[in-house]
Symmetry: C2
Subunit: 316 residues, 2 copies
Amino acid sequence: MKRLTSRDIELAHKRISRYINRTPVLNSRAINSIASAEIFFKCENFQKVGAFKYRGATNAMIELMESERPKAVATHSSGNHAQALALAANKQGIPAYIVMPSNSPKVKVNAVKQYGAEITFCEPNLEARESTLNTIVDRTNAVFIHPYNRNDIIAGQGTACFELVEEIDDLDMIIAPVGGGGLLSGTAIYAKSKGIAVYGAEPKSADDAKKSIEAKRLIPSVSLNTICDGLLTSLGELNFHYIQKYVDDIWLSSDEDTLSAMRLIYERMKIVIEPSSAVALAAVLNNKEVLEGKKIGIIISGGNVDLDSFFNSYAK
Amino acid sequence: MKRLTSRDIELAHKRISRYINRTPVLNSRAINSIASAEIFFKCENFQKVGAFKYRGATNAMIELMESERPKAVATHSSGNHAQALALAANKQGIPAYIVMPSNSPKVKVNAVKQYGAEITFCEPNLEARESTLNTIVDRTNAVFIHPYNRNDIIAGQGTACFELVEEIDDLDMIIAPVGGGGLLSGTAIYAKSKGIAVYGAEPKSADDAKKSIEAKRLIPSVSLNTICDGLLTSLGELNFHYIQKYVDDIWLSSDEDTLSAMRLIYERMKIVIEPSSAVALAAVLNNKEVLEGKKIGIIISGGNVDLDSFFNSYAK
C-alpha cells in the first residue's frame, strides 16, 4: 500500500484550501507564563463544522471525485466526522448517507440534516452501526469513508500542521490529541519531515495509543470513561503505522488535569474548545520541567461541546 | 466643559495603540444567514483583561501621566473596570487602590490582585463603596477614575469603534450595549462623524437609557434583575449628553432573547462572551424586518463570564 509523505500533505493542502477555513494561530501571554514555554494554538475549533475533521473529509471527497467518481458516500459516526462528511459531500454535489446511533445528541443530528445528508438511525453499538452501514452501502453503492483509517483522510488532517508550520518558525515540537489517530498521524508525517518533534496527547483512561506503541502492536481501546468523548475510539491500523514511525511519544493526562487546562483556555483565551482538545495543553502543563523555554505548537482539534449545563444555569 | 469629537478618539487611539490588543473583527456565515444581514463583530472579549474597559483605563492613565502626574489612582468596581484600571496603572508604574464589595467573585478579586493593585473590601452597597473610596482618596491622594463618566474614559472606549470602521467599509450601523454608557457614547461620537447610524442595546429589565432618552432627562436604573450584570449601572451625565446627541435609538431585548443570541455566538463562532455583549445580537435578531440586507457592526464588549456551572457539570 502507498505510504504518505509530506508531499502528499502539501498536495492535499493545495486541493482543499479554497474549501476550508484558514484557521488562526493564537497564543496567550498568561498561559505562556503558567507553562514557562511559548505555545502556539492552531485553532481548528474555528474550522467549518467546528473541527479539523472537515479537512480530511474534503480531501477524501475531492480525491474520490477525481478517481472513482462515486454516486454517493456513507459513514457511521455520532460526532464530528458525520458533519464533516455531510458538508463535504454536499459541496461536491453528491449524496451522503450517515448512520447515527439513536442516542446521538440532537444538535449533531440537526447539523448533519442541515448539511443535506440522509440519516439512518441504529442501535447505539458498533455491531449495529456496521451492519446498518453495510445494508446502505449495498443498496446505494455509496463509498464508505472511514473517519480516520484512510490515506486521503490522514493527508487532509495533516494540512492543519502544514499551515501551523508555514506560519510559525522554529517550533521545537507539535502536540496533537490522539483518538483514532487521523489527526496525529497526519500531523506527524508533516512535522517530522521538517525536523520537528511530535507528541500525542491521550487521556489516561483511554490510553490505547500509548499501550499500542509500548507493545508494538495494536491494542484496542476498552475505555468508555473519559470526558474526552472524541478520543474513545481505537487507533486505526494505518494510523498506528504512521504513529509508530513518526511520533516521539504519547503523553497521558487525567481528566481532572484536562478539565483544568480546558478552563484555562476558556478563561484566558476566550475561545470555546471541546475536552478532547484540552488534553494537549494538559500534557504540556504536566511536563513543565522538560518543556521550559520550548516553542510548542498545539493542534486544538475542535469546539463542538455540549453547552446545555452552562446555558441552563442562566435560564434558572 | 470640553466636548469630545471624533478627533479626540483618533488621538486616544494613537496614544493607547501600543498598549492594547488590536482585537479581531469576526463574522459568521451561519449567523448572517439567520439574521438575513451581514454582521461584523468587533471582539473586545479578546482585549487585555477580557473587556473594552482596558481601552478607556489606558487612555485615562496616559492622559493623567502627561498632565496631573498623580501619585496613585483609585476606583470602586466589582467588575471589568477594576481589572482594567489595575493593569493600566501597573503599566504606568503607579499604585492603584481598588474598592471592591465583599461579595465580589473570587476570580475577579484574584485578577485585580495579580495586576498589583491594593484591594479594600467594603459592604456590598453603593454608599459603602463611595465612603470607603473617599477615605482612601483622602489618605493616599489618589485620583478617582470613574468607570464611565469621564471624557478620557469615553474617548478610550471609542477606539474600538475607530478600529472597526477602519477595517470594515460602508457599515450601515453600529450597535453597542449600554450600561453606564462609556462604550456607547464613545462609539456614537466616532461612528456618527463617519455618517454611520448608532444604536444602543439594553436589557428590557434595566432600560434606564431608553427611558432617559424618552424623558429627555437622566432616569436612574432601579433594576437588579438581568443576566447582563455589566449593564445594571445607571447612565452617567456626560454619557447621557453624548448619547442624546448622537445615538439614533436604544433597542431593548428580553433576557431570554439575549441568552439565545449568546448561545448562537458560542455554538457558531466558538468564542466566549459575556451576557452583556449578547444583548446587541439579540437586538438585531429582534429587528430583522428593518435590518434585512444591512451591513451591521456589533461591539462585543467582553468575555468575563462565570464558567463554574459549565465546568462543574464535567467534574461530576
